[in-house]
Symmetry: C3
Subunit: 263 residues, 3 copies
């Protein structure tokens, strides 16, 4: 793939330390013309699932040949591998810890290489910060047009994947669960858009909701269920936080019931 | 206006989800050479007034032909319009919900168009994320040199504006109010620089303060009133937070008294 | 030094106000082709030591000729000077308040100038926001290739430096202290890598720890001491926060003991 010159950055580093800066310097010192684009740095420390989700929401939408550098890496210094991936027309660099589960799910093609070519790394490599010393330099190398095969040997299909939580089917109903709470306090479930037939109802925390088109279909302060922008059903409060309202987040059960047959 | 190629981004998305990334991808997939500049993403969810204020502080100072993409959009999915504006030499894209009140106030010229040309949008348009599917693509289109008239019909002067809170005049005094609390805990009032004549005093929370030139004119830990960088009088604590000290924020009354006549 | 065209930004402004945007506009309105790179904006208000540390972690690693604009400036409006520095191949602009202590420590060469050439500033200069009106414009000027000597007179070696906290040597031991807590709750000490000989042990909060290679060498949830990526010994919890675990942060004593002689 021809490179776009863009390198996106996703991490749990926050922006109250020098880690994000060191990561960016690592990319730029390898490829001074890289165009850096911050995706998300305020992910919860070590929250691989949230990172996977944020990447899946955004990365595949970038211009072809963009390199996505993702560092949520609680296992740094362990035996976990480093990866460079080509998924469809996007490139990814980061640890093999499940971070890429979301983008792997939607990928039209997968080419995976383990990071092994130490000539591409900074020297010495700190055992506590591979973002700076391994992933950043490799991202810069790839963004500058470097070949994926140069980073290390191809890896077969044994990439680490987060266990998907799929809804379970019951008599006339689908039992889902909240898998993510966003900054607005919206409760994102694993119930897919494809289940959102006309007339379904949702049961959550003892309440029953019809499926609405958008947040604005609720009264101000009202609880509402909609198909969110990632194609998953979510529970929201118009102008407020469903997390605060219901006092429950990830793991909360949400049941989707098919419309009653008309008699 | 010739375009600068710069697209600024202002939102209440935070950076712990994929929303900012999806917004940026939307711009770049329409105009790959856009130079993205983050203004503010940690605005309180739905805080249109704070967004309007942040935009007014920064946007008019950018190089001519910059596109400012602003998405604080609690009414997404309702009938509220989407707008593209040319205000003086700056361009703006976002919802018609008052977000642009601040920049409209200072504009030397106003050209407003309603977003209606669906050929410029992503398809399908999610009813919950117009940032990604409507505003982002249109911002990319404009930044690439697209014409404002192409986005939709011109709109007359009925743009949504936030109600301005103006100080009220009383015998020898001006009664203002805190309209914003910044990250430092500074209490920004609606009392304008023009009222800050030599010798005025300010009454706030039972205390009387002279007007100082800068924070540094107070003793460490001392309460101080200054003309802030946006031309509004603010109450601050040197090396501390006036919000914490006074325990009050937006809505707190601040009275400006003219200097006593010398007898 | 030839300029890289990159301007990095470090501040305590957060991103819930318009300050960061105004700072960026100040740079770009002076040098429209500047490539802006955010380092850290969520530094604690007025925390000069954390800012100095973040800069030292990241700035020297950027391509030569990069301009680092740093604004943590609690003394704005006082007599404190503004500075432009060339340290090795990097350039810096900001207040003379200790912010540059960290990068000065590691500099191969130092050229310092006081900001005095008002023709380079915005007019008028707000006494409360020199980032926007002084430092930002000067950073843009330098990034565009402007000469350091043009900003004002050279300054001798009397730059403000934060007092360094060095470990104290005791019989067979080195008494250090936690000097920084990062976003992960890792406790960074002033004990240098050079003291990390094989077999040393660390005493902290009544516990004794061997020095490990990486976080991953501890059991999940276990306390661990490692040499961190900045070359200082740090106390961490694998998959957790040492700050939460120990309930103590900056100032906590950490004693490094030499290995026992084998009998």
């Amino acid at each position: 793939v021809t490179r776009s010159g863009i390198v996106t950055l996703t991490s749990d580093f926050g922006t109250r330390d020098g880690y994000v800066g060191a990561l960016k310097a690592a990319v730029l010192s390898r490829f001074g013309q890289a165009r850096l684009v911050d995706l998300a740095h305020e992910l919860e420390p070590g929250d691989i699932a949230a990172a996977s989700r944020a990447l899946a929401q955004a990365a595949p939408r970038f211009p072809p040949g963009t390199v996505h550098l993702a560092v949520v890496d609680p296992g740094v210094g362990s035996e976990r591998r480093g990866l460079a991936l080509a998924l469809g027309e996007q490139l990814y660099v980061g640890p093999d810890n499940g971070l890429f589960s979301g983008v792997l799910d939607g990928a039209s093609s997968v080419e995976a290489h383990q990071l092994a070519n130490a000539a591409l790394f900074a020297a010495p490599v700190s055992p506590t910060f591979h973002g700076r010393d391994v992933f950043g330099p490799v991202a810069g190398y790839l963004a500058a047009g470097g070949a994926l095969v140069e980073v290390g040997p191809a890896v077969a299909g044994d990439l680490v994947r987060l266990a998907a939580r799929v809804p379970t089917r019951q008599a006339g109903a689908l039992e889902g669960v909240v898998v993510h709470v966003d900054r607005f306090g919206n409760l994102v479930t694993n119930l897919p858009e494809s289940a959102a037939a006309r007339g379904v109802s949702l049961e959550v925390a003892g309440q029953s909701l019809a499926l609405s088109r958008s947040y604005a279909d609720a009264a101000p302060g009202g609880l509402v269920a909609v198909v969110g922008s990632t194609g998953q059903i979510e529970i929201a409060v118009r102008g407020g936080s469903a997390l605060s309202r219901l006092g429950r987040g990830v793991g909360l059960v949400v049941i989707l019931r098919a419309p009653r047959e008309s008699a």
